[in-house]
Symmetry: C2
């Protein structure tokens, strides 16, 4: 129960208000990217939609580029946790299921499309966005190797690329569904291989 | 040796000239797509660059859409043959090497980017372009199953997606190299799996 005093006395009210403003602005950026695309997401349109002054945005993020990248990192990372169940197959299934759900949402699809759009101002820093997300997932494979579930010479990056690649291709190129059958099929193929046993 | 007469007397000269014109126009379309993108590739710009009348293009292809799709199919399919060496690993290596080379060229990259660009007029028919190319490659896996090299319940489409997916992701998102190490790693992972043996 909260008393009449501030519930979090250690955090100054100004900082809390600053964090609320930050999350509101970043949410607005993701919303605008989804509906208006990169071209329609400017400091001016974000400020108007979030109901803040443009100067407040420039003070905190300095450039439109920083603003967009902060929004991508903050809003999407929460949707893509790295599981650690103790079983590599289960971890891969959960990770891929999250990834598939993320890129199947309107926002995820918009942000994926944004990553392949040409835009000189973001060229050098967007490419790494998805690479970083896949990079972080390598630990799933490393843990599997440490537990002896996977061969000692397994290349963690290759495994993650092999299981995740088709999800991106379906979302970007073919439009085929990202369903549980696909996810399970990819994980089992990558773990067991197609050779007869 | 060709004598003084026509070297292919069975083909009327008019049809040969028509085929030469067709190939010249389609080559120009691919060239313009690579350098000017979809927006810069119109019947007018193609006609000017190929040195033919717009009416000749409309007579043969009727719409800009047909023209572009004919160019994609004709010019790229020659670069993506389906090998049949009698060994599934070798066939997959050759197919992926061709695919990697194709999407690493300036033209291939432009055409790939074109496939993810928004353009309402082509929306319904471009998606299937790459899907059809991957669909045709399934026969490599089917032959491997028939020869007993792969498990009887192998899903051909899944194998092709797993080996080809990362090439598209690298070309579109990460910009990481499409080299022989990647291709061999993907093929071996997909055939043998990551479990210890």
């Amino acid at each position: 129960m909260h008393g009449p005093q501030s519930p979090e006395p250690a955090v100054p009210p100004l900082r809390r208000r600053g964090e609320r403003m930050r999350r509101a602005v970043l949410g607005t950026v993701v919303e605008l990217l989804s509906t208006q695309g990169l071209a329609g997401t400017t400091v001016a349109t974000v400020a108007r939609a979030a109901g803040v002054h443009e100067t407040s945005i420039y003070r905190r993020w300095r450039t439109r580029e920083n603003l967009i990248l902060d929004a991508l990192a903050t809003e999407l990372d929460a949707a893509l946790p790295i599981p650690d169940t103790g079983v590599v197959r289960e971890d891969l299934l959960r990770f891929l299921t999250s990834l598939g759900r993320l890129i199947a949402t309107a926002q995820g699809r918009a942000l994926l499309r944004l990553s392949v759009e040409r835009d000189e101002t973001l060229e050098d820093r967007r490419g790494p966005y998805w690479s970083d997300r896949l990079e972080r997932a390598k630990v799933i494979v490393r843990r599997g190797v440490e537990r002896g579930e996977l061969a000692a010479d397994t290349d963690p990056g290759l495994v993650i690329e092999a299981v995740a690649g088709p999800l991106f291709v379906r979302a970007l190129l073919s439009g085929a569904p990202l369903d549980d059958t696909l996810v399970a099929g990819l994980v089992d193929l990558t773990l067991e291989g197609a050779r007869p046993r």
